[in-house]
Every structure is written in C-alpha cells, then in structure tokens.
C-alpha cells in the first residue's frame, strides 16, 4: 500500500509540472525510455512475435525509432491462454508493470482502477493526447462506454472497424433447382424452408435435408428478429438491449413470447436442425460438406469460403448471402454487427513513473503514422502507399498464409489501444464476401448496440446477486420451449412472475441507473 501512495504522489507531481503540448511531437523523449508491458491476448502471451519475447516485433523496432520509447516485456501468466486468469495473477502479485494490455482488460481495469491500481486517463488525454482526443470527440458514446463507474476512463481500447459480422446464407443452387426466389419476408422464408424439407433439393431421393442449421445454437435465436423480437443487444448472446432509450431484457418482452413460439413450431416441423443443441462447431463443415444443410446465419468471411472449398465435392454448390427477410411488421434488420469498441486495449498502472510520456506514446498509435503502422505493419516491408492508399505487397496477399496471421507476427493488429482500419481486412476479403457486404450496405440494417454499463459497488452487488440465476432460468425455459416441453404461451405469465420474483426488476433498475449516469 505504501508503494502505491508513493507512486500516486509521484504521478500527481509529474502531471502538474509537465508542460502541455497542443500537438504530439516525435520523438516523445530525447533519451530512450524503457517501459515494461504486460501484453496477453489470444495470439501471443507476451510482447513479441507469437509470444516469443526474446524477439522484437518489426513494428516495435520502428516505433522505438520514432518515439524513443522502448517497450520491454513483463507479461504474467504466459503459460496460460486465459487472459482473465493471467490478469488476475498479475494483480494478485501486486508487482505491476508500467503498461497492462491485451484482451479483456476492460472489466479488471474498471474494477481495480477506482481502487487505485490504474491511472485515470481523462486529464492525461485532455492535455497530452490530441489524436486520441480527436478520435473520441467524434465518438463520445464510445468514450462513455469505456468509462468506469466513477466516470473516469482507465484504458484506451482496441477499436474494431467495419460494420457487418454475420449474415444470412442460402443454397442458391437449391433455390434454383426448386424454382424458388430468395425469401424476402418471414412467410416466404417459411415456404422456402418447407420446400427444402419436402422437395429433395439435393436430389438424392432421400428426405435428409436440414433446412436451417447453425454452429452455435444461440444463432437460432436470430430468427426472433423475424417476429420483431430480439435475441441480444450486443455482440455476445443473451445480452440486454436498448428499447426506447431504456435498458431492457429481450427475453422478458411479449414479442419474444410470440417469436419463440414460432421457433418452437419450426423446430417441431423439422425446419430447424433437430440436433441444433449438440451439433457444435463442426455443423457447418459437416452439413455443407455432406450436401445436407440449406440455410444458416454465420460469419461473412468464413462462410463465403465454402464455395471454393466445396466446388469439387458438391456439384453446383453455391452458398451465398441474402438480405435478412422482413419481419412480420415489414422491418428488415441484421441484429449482429461488429462492436465498435472492444474490452481489449491497454492501461497505465499506478507503478508507472512516466504517465505523461506513456499517454503520448499511446497517442502515437492514434496518429496517422502510428495507425498505419499498427494496422499494416512496416511501410516498404509489407505494404506501400499507392495513390494515398496503403496497399499490401503481393507477397503478403499471395503468401498462402492468412494476412492477419502474418500481421500478428509483424506486430501489427496486436491488441494495443488503436483504431483498426477496415482497408486492412478488405484487401484480403474474398470476392463473394465483398459482394455480400456490399449487398448488406444497400440498406440500413443495423440496430443500435448496447455497449454495456459500468456499475458502482452497490449496483454490482445487486447484479451479481440476482442476474446469474435469472439468466440461467431464462435459458432453461428457452431451450425447454424450443424442444417442445411446455408451451410458452401458456407458461408466459408464470415465467414473467418468476423472473420478477428472482429480481429482474432490481437488475433492470441498477442497469438503468448506471446507464443514465454513463450516457446522459
């Protein structure tokens, strides 16, 4: 504890005495300055190519040259691939490096920041980080979304770019074989699925087609949007969503009752994969490869790859994205989208004696030069500027390795706090996926995302006390209804009453009070 107050005092004094620059200047420091970093994410447990900290990223070399700040690895929990575990280990040892970064930093940083483990960044950004400030001035909602309950921001997030994530895919060759059009609304969708079930589109003489299938069973719930209900409000399943400016739970709405009743009906009629709950991640490979699956809701990028992969195996195979069918009230939405900010990024710890230099360093990655370096790697090595556009070299695009995997080894696309640039991904997106994305761009399909709230301690206690049990109960009932044990329309009043008895109203209350504090 003594170490902590000392560092706080030290930080306070540097923040006051350091002169405020209007613009960031490079190099940030005259003499090389070493800062230690914890960097733990899926592709690398440690700040070095593939987690090998004895090597230095090419991107880091350039960043050192430009900023004179050297990041030195000090990652905890390197033998674990679980970021939360590594972070907890780091915090429990109390021996914090200057910078803590990687995946899933938001929750710990916002919980332990107010307790003094991390430095609030509001004033530092205001005074020393013009590029970060400019970015968030344009996106004030995201600044609000990353703040802790005390109103301070404790981390600079990784900010993904691009809009769409998952889309509706259909076997166009099956539609053609049966002389059908792509379904434009929920009724047409029903007819198409029935036709897939009954009219033997794969032509093997057996009634073995599975009209609608998914890899994660939760994707079945996307069908709810066809009855104007919702399955989630964020990029994780079963989340709260925004209903008329208030936080609400999708599974406590009347539209959900009607939507789920219809899903149960479709399941019973064999339009939805009977084994949807246990088929798991191999469902797509298996059902497409065996020429059995007709329609799904899945990622643009990976799903569009099957047309090439299965060209030889399944004759005439053509699995393409189509616009979300219109709901019963005539609304067309795509519920799933890329989230604009991730819980990943980096933060400054109380142990850091150079918070001003560090925030200037963070700011470098938001400058044009830094953002290009963070997105595309080293100029001249992996990409060139062509007519003002960063274009990957041919050997990068045609190396046989996915471009993202190459970037991770270069030190680009690492989970620093930085704004991702969609031009990076577009260059190696398959033609069929590009067409799909352009199709989805022809209409305004996206719905507002619920970016989450930061609870204070009392709110957190209420949430922790009630919500885990509530969501368990919701999911139990949901699956039971889909599987046909119980009728949602008959059980609905009891269900709502039970939810309220379990504390749903209390949870909604703290959700909304936190939401009002954070976003008003």
């Amino acid at each position: 504890m003594r170490k902590f107050t000392f560092a706080l005092a030290l930080m306070g004094s540097t923040a006051i005495t350091a002169p405020a620059f209007a613009e960031s200047h490079l190099p940030i420091v005259e003499e090389p300055l070493e800062l230690t970093i914890h960097m733990h994410w899926a592709r690398a447990q440690g700040y070095g190519p593939g987690g090998d900290t004895s090597k230095i990223y090419p991107v880091e070399e350039v960043a050192r040259e430009k900023t004179n700040i050297h990041l030195i690895d000090q990652t905890s929990g390197r033998n674990s691939t679980d970021q939360s575990e590594a972070m907890n280990l780091l915090l429990a040892t109390g021996n914090l490096p200057d910078i803590v970064g990687g995946a899933k930093v938001q929750q710990p940083v916002n919980e332990y920041g107010p307790q003094g483990a991390f430095v609030p960044l509001n004033d530092l950004v205001e005074e020393h980080a013009p590029n970060i400030k400019a970015w968030f001035d344009e996106h004030p909602d995201i600044w609000n979304a990353i703040a802790a309950f005390d109103g301070n921001v404790y981390y600079i997030p990784y900010l993904p770019d691009g809009k769409y994530a998952r889309a509706w895919f259909v076997r166009q060759d099956w539609l053609d074989a049966l002389g059908l059009e792509q379904p434009d609304n929920v009724d047409e969708l029903y007819d198409v699925l029935v036709a897939f079930r009954d009219q033997d589109p794969n032509g093997n003489g057996e009634k073995d087609e599975i009209p609608f299938f998914v890899r994660d069973w939760e994707e079945v719930l996307r069908l709810l949007t066809l009855w104007d209900a919702r399955s989630t409000g964020a990029d994780v399943y079963h989340q709260f969503y925004l209903k008329d400016g208030e936080v609400a739970h999708p599974y406590a709405q009347e539209a959900y009752r009607d939507g789920l009743a219809n899903i149960a009906k479709w399941y019973e009629e064999g339009l939805i994969d009977a084994e949807v709950f246990t088929r798991g991640s191999s469902a797509r490979d298996y059902l497409l490869g065996e020429n059995l699956g007709g329609m799904t809701h899945d990622w643009f990028a990976s799903t569009s790859g099957y047309n090439i992969a299965l060209a030889d195996k399944v004759e005439g195979f053509n699995f393409i994205p189509f616009l979300p069918p219109k709901s019963v009230s005539g609304v067309r939405i795509e519920e799933n989208r890329r989230i604009p900010m991730k819980p990943d990024g980096w933060a400054i710890t109380f142990a850091n004696e150079h918070p001003v230099e560090t925030i200037k360093y963070f700011d470098f990655w938001f400058s044009e030069e830094g953002a290009l370096l963070a997105n595309f790697g080293v100029e001249g090595k992996t990409w060139d500027m062509v007519d003002g556009e960063p274009i990957y070299k041919d050997e990068v695009l045609n190396s046989g390795q996915p471009v993202n995997s190459q970037m991770y080894l270069e030190g680009a696309q690492v989970y620093r706090g930085y704004p991702q640039d969609y031009r990076y991904e577009w260059q190696w997106t398959r033609e069929s996926a590009r067409e799909g994305i352009e199709l989805y761009d022809t209409e305004d399909l996206l719905v507002e995302q619920f970016l989450g709230v930061a609870f204070n301690e009392e709110e957190q206690a209420v949430y922790d006390k009630y919500y885990p049990s509530i969501v368990t109960y919701m999911l139990e009932r949901q699956q039971a209804w889909i599987l046909g044990s119980g009728d949602i329309k008959e059980d609905w009043d009891d269900y709502v009453e039970t939810l309220n008895k379990m504390g749903l109203q209390e949870v909604l209350e703290v959700m909304n009070s936190a939401y009002a504090r954070q976003y008003s």
């Binding site: 504890m1 939360s84 907890n88 915090l91 429990a92 109390g94 929750q107 710990p108 919980e111 332990y112 307790q115 003094g116 483990a117 009977a274 084994e275 709950f277 246990t278 798991g280 922790d464 006390k465 885990p468 049990s469 368990t472 109960y473 999911l475 139990e476 949901q478 699956q479 039971a480 599987l483 044990s485």
Partner: protein, 331 residues
C-alpha cells in the same frame, strides 16, 4: 497403577513390583526404540519429506486464503486488506434456489455413482483374476484401462455422437426395434444415467488396478489348502479372495464417500445444456458459472468451503461406522 493392581488382584507384593518394573523398562525402551528406528530407517523418512512439503505448500498454506469466504474479496486489495462481510456469501448461497437444486443434484448423481459405479471395478478385478489365458487377460485389461487415458473432451464427443438422434449408434439400434429416436442429451430424465454410465465406462477399468494389486497380495497357501479341501473356484472367490481384499474395499469406499460432492464437473460442463440443468447442474458447475466466470471468487470460496466441510463430516462418519463394524479404518 490401580489398573495393574486390579489385574494382579490378590497376588503377592513381589509380583506387583516385578510387573511395574517391567512397565518402566518398556516405557524407557519405547523412546529408545523410536531413536533406533529413526537411525535405522532414516532413508524412509527422507523419502517422506517431499510429500510433507507438498502437503504444507499446496494444502495447508492455501487454507490461509479460505478467509475470503467471509470477506468481500478484491484481487488488488489482497486477502488481508479486503473487508470482512461475515456469513453474507453463505446466506447468498442458501437463499438461492439454484444452489439448493445443484446440491440436490450433486448428492443424487454421487449416490448413483456410488451404487452403480463402486462395485464395478471390484467385479472387474475378480473377473480378471479368474482369467487363465494370459494374452486374453492382458488384452482385456488394456481395453478397459484405455478410456481412462482419453481426454474428457474426446469422451464427451464420443458420448454426444453415440446418443445423437440422427447418426448415433444408440438411436440406430433402437430404430431396429421400431423405437422412435430420442434426443437424449436434451432430456433431463436421461442426463444422470448417461453421465453415471459414462463415468463407469471411463474409470471402472483403471480403478480395478487397486483391487488386482490387493488380490495379488493374497497368500497362495490359502488357495492351495482350499484346493486340497476340494473347494470350487466360486467358493474360493467368495470365501478367500473377497474377504482378503475387504480392507482395501472398505478404505476405497471411505475415500469415495469423502469425495461424494466432487462430481467430475468438466464432464458435466461438456455434456449439459440449459435444457438439462434441472438434473445436471451440480455444485461445482454452479460455482463455475456463478463464481469463476462471474469473477466472484469469494462466493466460490464459500461454496468450496461448504463442500469441504460436508466432505469432512462424511469421511468421519464413514470411518467411524467402518471402525465399529469391521475394524478397518483410515485412521
């Protein structure tokens, strides 16, 4: 002394003196004997040290952290600096219907495991012991040991495939008899039989090793004299083998009872669904969802502590009962 006097009753004084003399020398020589014992057998005690250190470091020192069950634990503040909250976490647990359900499920699943799972390795060991052809015996043993060495994830994959309504062997066989396919893994009433059955299939073979070792330790002279007396193999098994390994069986049973609440929860996580929570959710999976995934280490510690207390009571009870009725016990 009064005991001794009572025993010798009305004997002469000399006898009493002689007896107490003997007692004194025995006392003195006991300390000497321990000293001798340590000198002669020191290698054994050196070999014991790593285990003792392991126990202290991994089982006794962490007990310090048990206090977080009574605290509002913050990782950053640390164990000592986190504020006390008394029994709040226990109240939260016992006020939660899902925890009580999980407790019930744990006891039921463990009980099934005990009834159906405990005798299996003993039966297997007895059966292996009766096999005379060595090649057949070795092959059979290897086959039943094998599932133990396969990862739970793969076992779960096999189970999911085997019970699949469209392609699973179980439903296929049922189809031959005209029974409609059942989506077993979403049916609460089927979860426990499938889980317990999987556990037996996976572990019974490996667990039989202990009993085979015990059987190997039975003196051959017993069997030889039985053969001379004209006993059948069946009689030898019932009258010699089984009684001889009974102490091992009792010890294993006591240990098993102590682990009653420790259901192998990774297998449950791999096999359960929200649809089957009502019969499948056990204390450990509840802790996992509520505590570890939600970051509520203090609540998880409270549930873990509760588990440990129940396990302790169970072991003590089983041990006492066993001691009274069979004179075999852990301590």
């Amino acid at each position: 002394m009064s005991d001794l006097e009572a025993k010798v009753g009305g004997s002469t004084e000399e006898l009493v003196i002689e007896a107490s003399e003997a007692l004194r020398t025995r006392k003195a020589s006991r300390i000497e004997r321990i000293g001798d014992h340590l000198r002669n057998e020191w290698q054994l005690y050196v070999m014991l040290i790593p285990t003792v250190v392991w126990l202290l470091v991994f089982l006794y020192k962490p007990m310090y952290g048990l206090q977080i069950a009574f605290k509002d634990y913050s990782i950053f503040r640390g164990v000592a600096a986190s504020p006390w909250v008394g029994l709040e976490h226990f109240q939260t647990l016992f006020g939660n219907d899902q925890f009580l359900r999980a407790l019930k499920n744990t006891v039921i699943i463990s009980f099934y495991g005990l009834i159906f799972g405990f005798p299996m390795p003993i039966l297997l060991a007895l059966m292996f012991n009766e096999i005379l052809a060595q090649t057949f015996k070795k092959t059979a043993q290897t086959i039943v040991y094998l599932p133990h060495f396969v990862s739970s994830v793969i076992i779960a994959g096999i189970v999911i495939t085997a019970f699949s309504p469209s392609a699973g062997i179980v439903n296929t066989v049922m189809g031959w008899f005209g029974i409609d396919p059942i989506y077993f893994l979403t049916k609460p009433e089927w979860f426990r039989p499938i889980f317990v059955g999987t556990g037996i299939w996976q572990e019974a073979g490996f667990q039989s090793i202990v009993y085979l070792a015990a059987i190997a330790g039975v003196s051959p002279t017993l069997y030889e004299s039985a053969v001379v007396d004209g006993a059948s193999r069946w009689q030898m098994m019932w009258k010699i083998t089984l009684p001889s390994i009974m102490p091992t069986i009792i010890i294993m049973l006591i240990i098993r009872i102590g682990n009653m609440l420790e259901v192998s929860f990774e297998m449950i996580i791999l096999l359960y669904q929200p649809a089957t929570y009502s019969t499948a959710d056990v204390v450990n999976t509840f802790i996992y969802r509520q505590g570890i995934q939600g970051g509520q280490y203090d609540l998880a510690a409270a549930a873990g502590l509760f588990n440990a207390v129940v396990a302790f009571v169970l072991v003590m009870t089983a041990n006492t009962i066993s001691k009274r009725y069979s004179r075999t016990s852990l301590w």
